[in-house]
């Protein structure tokens, strides 16, 4: 992952026999000059903020929360494998959050997995306010990875992102979305009910309404991307049900968030 912390480690990267080509210090030898090269890497603190609101459990059969957990676990394992530190935070309803301690070694992957597996969906969550509250309690530098369906007003979300940025967090918006949220063709007649507020909205699900909804969703996605650009954050979208591995090695790699070593 990209370094974002000021703490530095020295790790071996190459071995050379040509003097003067490396910045490493010469080691004493018997007639042979052995030069070791070192690359300075910063230890990064990764803050995984997992949205566990009720909206992550709908639509039924397209478990966004499971995909979010899997993505968070993958990112945590990559970070731990790179000797970075990881803190998981499960954002719960009504501004509550379950924050873990900072894990700093590979053996903590099991603990991280347990913490993420304990996250169950339920309740209403104001994501922007939750991010603001987290930024108020934790300071950077670090990387804040927000794994959420981002189903909230962009303005509200922007306040949270800017709060994180103000606390010197690099922000990654990992947008987990269900296929039927992008294209609600499978919806039948009925009354739409908000999973978090239980508010209902009765509209005729005509083809014209479906087309307009798709346009509204596209506009929302564009607004999220624009938000990421404005706040100099990263934005990537994972469709629930698709491969998390492909998402990590594909979309996130193209963004430069992860790379092969």
């Amino acid at each position: 992952m990209q370094p974002a912390s000021r703490s530095k480690r020295i790790v071996p990267t190459s071995r050379a026999t040509i003097p003067g080509t490396s910045t490493g210090a010469p080691s004493p030898g018997l007639g042979t000059l052995l030069v070791r090269g070192f690359t300075a890497e910063r230890q990064v603190a990764f803050h995984l903020l997992l949205d566990a609101s009720a909206s992550m459990s709908v639509p039924a059969g397209e478990d966004k929360l499971a995909a979010a957990r899997e993505l968070a676990m993958a990112l945590a394992f990559i970070a731990l494998a790179a000797n970075d530190t990881v803190r998981t935070t499960v954002l719960l309803a009504d501004g509550q959050a379950r924050v873990s301690r900072l894990h700093g070694h590979r053996g903590a992957a099991a603990h991280v997995a347990e913490e993420l597996a304990a996250a169950t969906g339920g309740g209403a969550l104001g994501l922007g306010a939750a991010l603001e509250a987290y930024a108020a309690r934790h300071a950077g530098p670090g990387v804040a990875i927000v794994v959420s369906d981002l189903m909230s007003e962009v303005d509200d979300l922007e306040r949270g992102v800017r709060a994180l940025r103000a606390r010197r967090f690099a922000v990654v918006l990992a947008h987990v979305v269900a296929p039927s949220e992008l294209d609600p063709r499978s919806l039948r007649h009925g009354v739409l009910r908000d999973a978090e507020s239980d508010a209902v909205h009765a509209i005729r699900l005509t083809s014209a309404a479906m087309a307009e909804y798709r346009a509204v969703v596209a506009a929302h996605l564009a607004a999220l991307r624009s938000l990421a650009d404005r706040t100099r954050s990263l934005y990537a979208r994972l469709v629930a049900g698709t491969s998390v591995g492909d998402f990590v090695t594909g979309d996130l790699a193209r963004l430069g968030f992860v790379r092969r070593r």
Binding site: G190, A195, A199
Partner: protein, 284 residues
């Protein structure tokens, strides 16, 4: 008084079935709540809202409701009362035997008096407006009273009629009654010992194979047919000496009871016609 009415007001409870039908319809058509992650995107859709009209019946509902309503209305047993016109008057034709045989005395009175008392009771039971005609049958047939609704007149004419010392000739009287029956739907009563003889003819034969009428003491009064032969005569004489057996005594008691009535009542013109035909056959 005329107009519609309801014979079974409690049948209105059957209309509750319509309410049950509506409830079932609403239950089946209740819109299902579809959970979505958020509504703020959907609220941006300018689609027409579903009216909050929970009851939107279709053709099938109306058909079911119509069937239920018809059944419920049938439970009310409605009727339409109209001012009916005057009912056609019933008619009673009394054919009274005035022959000498009607002067015979029975246990409870003279036959003719018994017959006249019965006719009087019939007249008393007739609704007002019914017509009565009295025909007497003796050696000659005469009309005691033409069709009339005057009960007092009918009763007085009936009192004036007496049994005569004449033989019976029912044929012309019955023919007259038949003629009247053809032109009017009539009820007729005939009071004649002829019917008594016919009942006797229909009784089972005695053990001697003879048919007869019975006297008050249970002994046979006369024989129409005789078995013939000396043996039969001897058996008959022995039977007469021995007196009637228990079976014969019971039959005699039944015969006396029937004779005491002395008349037969025929209610329809068809029965009257059958009786006339039998009488004509007997007379022949």
């Amino acid at each position: 008084m005329s107009g519609p009415g309801i014979a079974n007001p409690l049948g209105a409870l059957a209309f509750l079935a319509l309410a049950v039908l509506v409830l079932l319809y609403l239950r089946s058509r209740r819109r299902q709540a579809i959970p979505v992650a958020t509504l703020f995107l959907w609220r941006r859709v300018r689609a027409p809202l579903v009216e909050h009209r929970s009851f939107r019946p279709d053709l099938l509902f109306w058909l079911q409701a119509a069937i239920l309503a018809a059944l419920a209305a049938a439970c009310l047993r409605p009727y339409l009362e109209r001012a009916a016109g005057a009912a056609p008057a019933a008619r009673l034709l009394v054919l009274l035997d005035v022959s000498a045989s009607m002067q015979a005395r029975e246990l409870d009175g003279v036959r003719f008096d018994l017959a006249r008392a019965r006719v009087q009771s019939e007249l008393a039971g007739l609704p007002a407006g019914d017509e009565v005609m009295i025909v007497t049958a003796g050696a000659r047939t005469s009309v005691g009273l033409r069709w009339s609704t005057d009960r007092a007149l009918a009763r007085s004419r009936l009192e004036e009629i007496t049994a005569l010392d004449v033989p019976t000739d029912l044929t012309p009287a019955l023919e007259l009654a038949l003629a009247e029956a053809r032109v009017r739907a009539a009820r007729a009563s005939s009071c004649s010992p002829t019917s008594r003889r016919r009942r006797a003819a229909s009784r089972p034969r005695s053990r001697h194979g003879r048919v007869g009428t019975h006297r008050a003491d249970g002994r046979q009064r006369r024989h129409r047919r005789c078995g013939g032969g000396r043996a039969a005569v001897r058996r008959h004489a022995r039977h007469q000496r021995a007196g009637p057996g228990p079976e014969l005594r019971a039959r005699a008691a039944a015969g006396r009871a029937r004779c005491a009535r002395g008349w037969r009542h025929v209610d329809t013109a068809g029965a009257l016609a059958r009786g006339a035909r039998e009488h004509l056959r007997d007379a022949a």
